[in-house]
Symmetry: C2
């Protein structure tokens, strides 16, 4: 052995190549059609290497969608354009890499993927809503409403590719969605 803790291994390049290929394939094809053989081909290695480094397909998927939403701190401004900040942040997240697309595509047909999405909601989205909502008891409902709008837009824009949704500019999306999110999180119950 060359070291005690997390020494750089000679195979790190291969490991990350596998992970990158896996994210691409999961994002493009979903869980079933993203075969280990295809991922290995993209990474230019043998399929058996995937098994050695990630155990099995589920392990590979778990490693591929390990992400942090980096939710913004509670907004400090006088009152809320929290909606604007949040919508912009999610657009950034969705466009900076394919992890979220992969997660959404897989979550729809795969148990583990759906579970991971629920986890992200509970551990990273809900806390933000708890700080912004007037009544903490309403936070889960309000957060879920906001998530539904953001997920729905991402679905139409990055997965189903509805032409009008794809054609909108980022700024247009922010201007349209921000008031919705703002209302879901902070407005008085209808």
């Amino acid at each position: 052995m060359t070291g005690t803790t997390s020494q750089a291994r000679r195979s790190d390049a291969t490991r990350t190549a596998i992970l990158a290929a896996a994210r691409e394939r999961f994002a493009a094809d979903g869980y079933e059609r993203a075969t280990i053989r295809a991922i290995a081909r993209d990474a230019a290695i043998d399929p058996s290497m995937v098994m050695r480094y990630y155990g099995n397909k589920e392990g590979l998927f778990a490693a591929a969608i390990d992400l942090d939403l980096r939710m913004p701190e509670p907004y400090a401004g006088p009152d809320g354009d929290a909606g604007r900040v949040l919508v912009r942040h999610f657009l950034d997240l969705w466009e900076e890499n394919e992890v979220l697309t992969a997660l959404l595509r897989v979550g729809v047909t795969n148990e583990a993927g759906a579970a991971r999405m629920q986890e992200l909601f509970k551990e990273q989205i809900l806390p933000v809503a708890l700080r912004l909502c007037p009544d903490p008891a309403e936070a889960p409902t309000r957060a879920a409403l906001g998530a539904s709008q953001v997920l729905g837009l991402a679905l139409g824009r990055y997965v189903l590719k509805f032409p009008p949704t794809v054609a909108m500019s980022r700024d247009e999306i922010v201007e349209w969605l921000a008031p919705t999110i703002q209302r879901y999180l902070t407005a008085e119950r209808p």
Copy 2:
């Protein structure tokens, strides 16, 4: 031959049993995991019957998701609670059978499914927006925004099963979403 046009065939019961089983499986499992063998087992017939009646798996899927959204006529009331009417109508559609769940689950990972969703949007949703929007040129964008909210909610409630989204009552959902849809369709551009 017993008749000239669309005579009742002796195999109609089998045909509809296959279709019902197919909708269930597609809704529960998505395209790949809904195997013809499993569908045939549910319908208590041989897999080869599916091939004979629907040609191949794609043909079966096409037959299984042939649906009409039955969009309501342009609302006659003084001004709009079009939002309320539309949200309630979509909740009805999603809950009356599994076709829409099947379509969403498949559309996310299957080309034909996504294409069918775009078709439904263009042919059945867009016309409604054209009647309700102030400026017809904005109708596609506004309709797409409305679709994103409705699809997002359905995703959370019927597919991903986010606990807070599942827990909401139909009336709660209508009260929260209706103003959003109303604004997307009719309010002045932000």
